[in-house]
């Protein structure tokens, strides 16, 4: 298709999913405590959210090139891309997670504490499930952003769907570029739909009608 073999396309898509998806999960895991801190510690919230948000403004190409110097990795190492994409995910998700925790009604949180929940147990059992809708919305944005941004890594030679763009550009062929764009869109949509579905499964209470 478009001068690209199916097997090659499949391999590139898997690579792309790996390089965009794993940082998304790691980024979420890092953002959960950060966002929780931002929502709970009054003076820490604004600087923490502004600070992590600012990381999103670092140009990705610059980050891909700088990270080997910081991490001591080879320029072609996947780790550079994984770490960079994790930084972008954290930049987008910290605010979202903080918003999610803030969305938990105060009286629910207080009731939980009054029942005898310890802080950590309450966060896991009460706050977190209630924050799912807001966190999932942010996660969808971060997923699409990651799928789009990771293709830049082709410029430093890390293969994924972005490699089709550099390839098409070098050979002056439109085919691989169109295929690359389409595959990226499909991947983004798939990730987005998966997160939406998971969020739906995690929040059954939101879809029960109010009986008359």
């Amino acid at each position: 298709m478009g001068g690209v073999a199916w097997a090659e396309l499949g391999a590139l898509m898997l690579r792309h999913l790996y390089l965009a998806g794993v940082p998304l999960l790691v980024g979420l895991a890092v953002s959960l405590p950060l966002g929780w801190l931002a929502s709970r510690v009054r003076w820490l919230g604004p600087p923490l959210i502004a600070g992590t948000g600012l990381m999103y403004t670092i140009p990705s190409l610059a980050l891909f090139i700088l990270l080997p110097l910081v991490l001591g990795t080879q320029i072609l190492d996947d780790a550079n891309v994984l770490v960079a994409m994790t930084i972008y995910a954290v930049a987008l998700l910290t605010r979202t997670v903080a918003d999610g925790f803030t969305s938990v009604p105060g009286h629910v949180r207080q009731a939980a504490t009054a029942m005898g929940y310890g802080e950590l147990r309450r966060v896991v059992a009460v706050d977190l499930p209630l924050a799912v809708p807001v966190v999932a919305a942010g996660l969808r944005v971060a997923a699409v952003s990651n799928v789009s941004m990771v293709s830049v890594a082709a410029l430093i030679g890390v293969s994924q769907l972005g490699s089709l763009f550099t390839d098409g550009f070098n050979r002056n062929a439109m085919g691989p570029i169109v295929v690359g764009v389409m595959a990226s869109v499909v991947l983004a949509l798939l990730l987005d739909a998966t997160i939406a579905l998971l969020a739906r499964l995690l929040t059954p209470w939101l879809r029960r009608g109010v009986p008359a």
Binding site: H107, Q110, A111, T113, A114, M115, G116, P129, L130, R208
Partner: protein, 356 residues
């Protein structure tokens, strides 16, 4: 018994929410903390289960300082009903009510059995137990809140403005049930409200607090109405406190005999107002036979407002008389059967006789 021993709470910004509060809340009773907003009533309540820590002073439950126990463990032993119920929206009613038993480490089956029993006690159905809170009305949610507070069988239940978000009819219903549950279980209830009517109708003891966290008076409702400690309490208790006090006045009024008529029986014209009853002698309503006569049909019967029970307060007897179209207030026995009627004058005479 819960004892406040010179308890003071001062916040970081320098405001004193509670000032040198000393109070003995009796066990097995309903005690109401009432006062205007900013009087420290909620802060006082929350210091009992350490949601708020006092700046100085001690709070003792049955002689034990609450600060000697880990806060979470203490809270699991005390039921708590919050404003708006504070239910967990992501859990079903059953699972909400199972919260404290589970926190106490009971196994699932035991927690479920306790929760099911509490749900039933609070007047909810098994079908409602499977629902999410958002699927219930405000009154039903408040019932779940009560069930959740009772599930593990605590000796003490704290209630923070529990009925402020429900309409007056449902509120009256829930208040009645609280009284019933408290009586059945013999628990100690400490309830916070800004509504003096609620305080007077629910409390065995009422602590009136004033701005700045001072205790203005701690007394029974009848005592508060009869002998307010100062102008603040007098004005807070309200202008019509003479009438309200009737709610706590027992008067010796013997009902007058009243002729009753069953449906289908003939009523001679010119009999005046006649009292219709069912086969068990329970009142159905009044029929106007001043200018009409004949067999009594249901359409002739007018429903009436209040019915007083034997031995009820002067206020209810008076209300029964005043709300009756015949001006004769219907008095029933414990089975709901008509004993007789009272006139407003009978009640007033009895009150006069009592005070002389």
């Amino acid at each position: 018994m819960i004892r406040f021993d010179s308890v003071t709470k001062t916040y970081d910004d320098g405001t004193t929410a509670v000032d040198e509060l000393s109070l003995e809340i009796p066990g097995g009773r309903i005690t109401v903390l009432v006062g205007p907003s900013g009087c420290g009533k909620t802060t006082s309540l929350r210091m009992i289960n350490r949601m708020v820590e006092p700046t100085s002073g001690r709070i003792l439950i049955d002689g034990e300082d609450v600060s000697d126990r880990p806060a979470a463990q203490l809270r699991r032993s005390i039921g708590y009903v919050i404003q708006q119920a504070g239910l967990f929206p992501h859990r079903t009613v059953l699972s909400n009510v199972m919260t404290v038993p589970r926190l106490l480490g009971w196994d699932r089956a035991r927690a479920r059995a306790a929760a099911t029993e509490a749900i039933e006690k609070a007047g909810l159905t098994a079908q409602q137990a499977g629902r999410y809170p958002s699927q219930l009305s405000g009154g039903q949610q408040q019932r779940v809140g009560v069930a959740r507070a009772l599930a593990s069988g605590p000796q003490i239940v704290l209630m923070d403005e529990p009925y402020s978000a429900v309409d007056p009819i449902v509120r009256a219903e829930l208040q009645d049930e609280l009284r019933r549950l408290q009586g059945e279980l013999g628990i100690t209830v400490v309830l916070v409200t800004h509504d003096i009517d609620e305080a007077l109708s629910l409390g065995d003891m009422v602590a009136v607090m004033r701005y700045g966290g001072h205790l203005a008076q701690f007394a029974t409702p009848a005592e508060l109405l009869a002998r307010p400690a100062d102008d603040f309490v007098a004005s807070f208790v309200g202008k019509d406190r003479g009438y309200r006090a009737l709610g706590f006045a027992d008067v010796a009024v013997s009902p007058r005999p009243e002729r009753t008529v069953r449906l289908g029986e003939a009523v001679p014209a010119g009999s005046g107002w006649v009292l219709a009853v069912d086969d068990a002698g329970r009142p159905l309503g009044w029929a106007d036979a001043r200018s009409w006569g004949g067999p009594l049909t249901e359409s002739r019967v007018r429903r009436f407002g209040t019915i007083a029970r034997l031995g009820e307060s002067a206020r209810l007897l008076l209300d029964a008389a005043l709300s009756s179209p015949s001006r004769r207030g219907v008095v029933v026995d414990e089975h709901g059967a008509v004993v007789g009627t009272v006139l407003a004058d009978d009640v007033l005479d009895a009150l006069d006789a009592r005070s002389t």
